[in-house]
C-alpha cells in the first residue's frame, strides 16, 4: 500500500474534477427527474383513463429494467438510430429516464396515501380538481414522500458510478485510472472515494432532514 503515492496533489486534483462531474450529473439528473417524475406521478394519480394507464405502462417498464441497460441504450443504442450524445449527456439522459420512473411511483403512492376525505372536503368546498391537488393533496403528499425521495436521490448519486462503464470521467472512473497505474494505490484510493461518496450522501440526508422538519413544523 502506497498512501503518499496515491494521495499526491495531482491525483487529488484529478479526483476532485471527477467529483465535480459526479455532482453535476447528479444535480442535473435530480432536477430533471424531479420535474418529470412529479408530472408523471400526478398523471398516474389523476386516473385520466387512457393517458394515466399509458404512463403507468411506461413507468412500469422502465422501473423493471436494469439501469445499466438504459445507460448502454442511451450511449450505444441511440446513435444507431441517429441520436448522438456526448458521454455526459448520455449519462444524464439515462439517469433522468430511470429516476423519473422511480420518482413517478413515489409521487403517485404519496398522493394516494392522502386521506380521500381531504379531497372530498376540498371539492365540496368548491375547489377544482387542480386547486385541490395544489393546495391540499400535493402538500400533504409531499410530507409523506420526502424520505423515499431522498433515498432515491442517494441511490442516484451512487448509481452515477455506473457511468464509468461508458467512460464518463466521474469520481469512480478517475479512481480506476489512478489505481490502474499502480495497484498499491488501490486501497488508499478506495478509502478516499468511499469517504467522498459517504460525505456527499450524508450531506444530502442531513439536508432532507432539515426540509422534513420545516415541512412538519
Amino acid at each position: 500500500m502506497n498512501w503518499s503515492g496515491a494521495y499526491t496533489w495531482i491525483n487529488l486534483n484529478y479526483l476532485l474534477q471527477g467529483l465535480w462531474i459526479t455532482i453535476q450529473i447528479s444535480v442535473i439528473s435530480i432536477i430533471l427527474s424531479s420535474i418529470f417524475g412529479a408530472i408523471l406521478g400526478i398523471i398516474r394519480y389523476s386516473k385520466i383513463s387512457k393517458v394515466s394507464a399509458f404512463v403507468g405502462f411506461l413507468v412500469d417498464i422502465v422501473r423493471n429494467l436494469p439501469l445499466l441497460l438504459i445507460l448502454f441504450f442511451s450511449y450505444f443504442g441511440l446513435p444507431q438510430i441517429g441520436i448522438r450524445f456526448s458521454t455526459f449527456s448520455a449519462a444524464i439522459f439515462a439517469f433522468t429516464i430511470f429516476e423519473s420512473a422511480m420518482l413517478a411511483e413515489i409521487f403517485r403512492s404519496g398522493l394516494e396515501a392522502v386521506d380521500k376525505g381531504q379531497t372530498e372536503a376540498a371539492r365540496s368546498n368548491g375547489l377544482t380538481y387542480l386547486q385541490t391537488l395544489r393546495y391540499i393533496v400535493f402538500p400533504q403528499g409531499l410530507k409523506k414522500m420526502i424520505a423515499p425521495i431522498v433515498s432515491q436521490f442517494i441511490s442516484l448519486v451512487k448509481d452515477t458510478s455506473l457511468a464509468t462503464i461508458i467512460l464518463l470521467p466521474d469520481l469512480m472512473q478517475r479512481a480506476q485510472v489512478i489505481y490502474g497505474q499502480d495497484t498499491n494505490y488501490m486501497i488508499p484510493i478506495f478509502i478516499l472515494v468511499a469517504a467522498t461518496y459517504f460525505v456527499v450522501n450524508y450531506l444530502l440526508s442531513l439536508f432532507a432532514g432539515f426540509i422534513d422538519r420545516r415541512l412538519k413544523n
Partner: protein, 245 residues
Amino acid sequence: MSLISFKNVGKSYGEFKALKDINLDINQGQIVSIIGPSGSGKSTLLRTMNGLEEINEGQLIVDDHDLSNPKVDINKLRKDVGMVFQHFNLYANKTILENITLAPRIVLKENTKQAEQNAMKLLEMVGLKDQANKYPSQLSGGQQQRIAIARSLAMKPKAILFDEPTSALDPEMIGDVLNVMKEVAGQDMTMVVVTHEMGFAREVGDRIIFMDSGQILEDSNDPKAFFKKPKEPRAQQFLSKVIGH
C-alpha cells in the same frame, strides 16, 4: 320553487341498487333530517346532492343545476352547497383560519383581509376564536366539527349537507356541535342532515325522511307526529330499536 329536486332518481354500484326511484323536493330554508338503518342509502342520497356521487337514472336539479347532465359545471354548484362530514375532514396542512379562508379566497376571490375578517366572525359564532392559528390535529373532535361548519358557512352557501356530523364524537361534545347547527338552522339556511340524533331531528327539523334499502319509505312534514307514531311499519320498527337503546 324547490332548491333540491329529485325525479325518479336511481343510483347503482354495479348490479347493486343503492338508490331506487327517489322523488324528493326540498325547499329553501327547510331543515330536513334523513334517518334510517345502516346501509339504507342515506349517505349516498346526500352525496348525490353536491355531485360527490353521480346518479344513473332520473333527474336531479340542485339550485338550477341539472346534475343528471354530465356537462354540468359541478364546481359552480358546490360554491352554493356546503358539506360537513362525519370525520370533519379539515385540511390537515392548513391552520384553522386557513381552513376557513381557503375556499373564499380561491373560489370566491375574496381578498385575504376580507376573508379573514369573515372567518373571525364565524369563529366567534362557533366559540373557537382563540384557536385560529392552531392546526386541526391540535383540536378535539367537537371543536374540529364546529370549524368544519364554519368552513362551510364561509362560502355563504344556500344549503349545507351534513353526513352524521356527531357520530364520531364523544357524547360530551355532541351538544356543542348540535348547538351550532341549531344556530345555523335559525339563520334560514337549508339543511339536509343525515343523523342518528333523534332529538335534533324532532326538535329542530321541519321534515323527516325515512329510508330503507335505497328507498324513501316515509316523508313527513311533522317530525313530532312522526316520532309519536310513524306510518310505515319499517319506520316503527327502526324507531323502537334506536329509541329503545
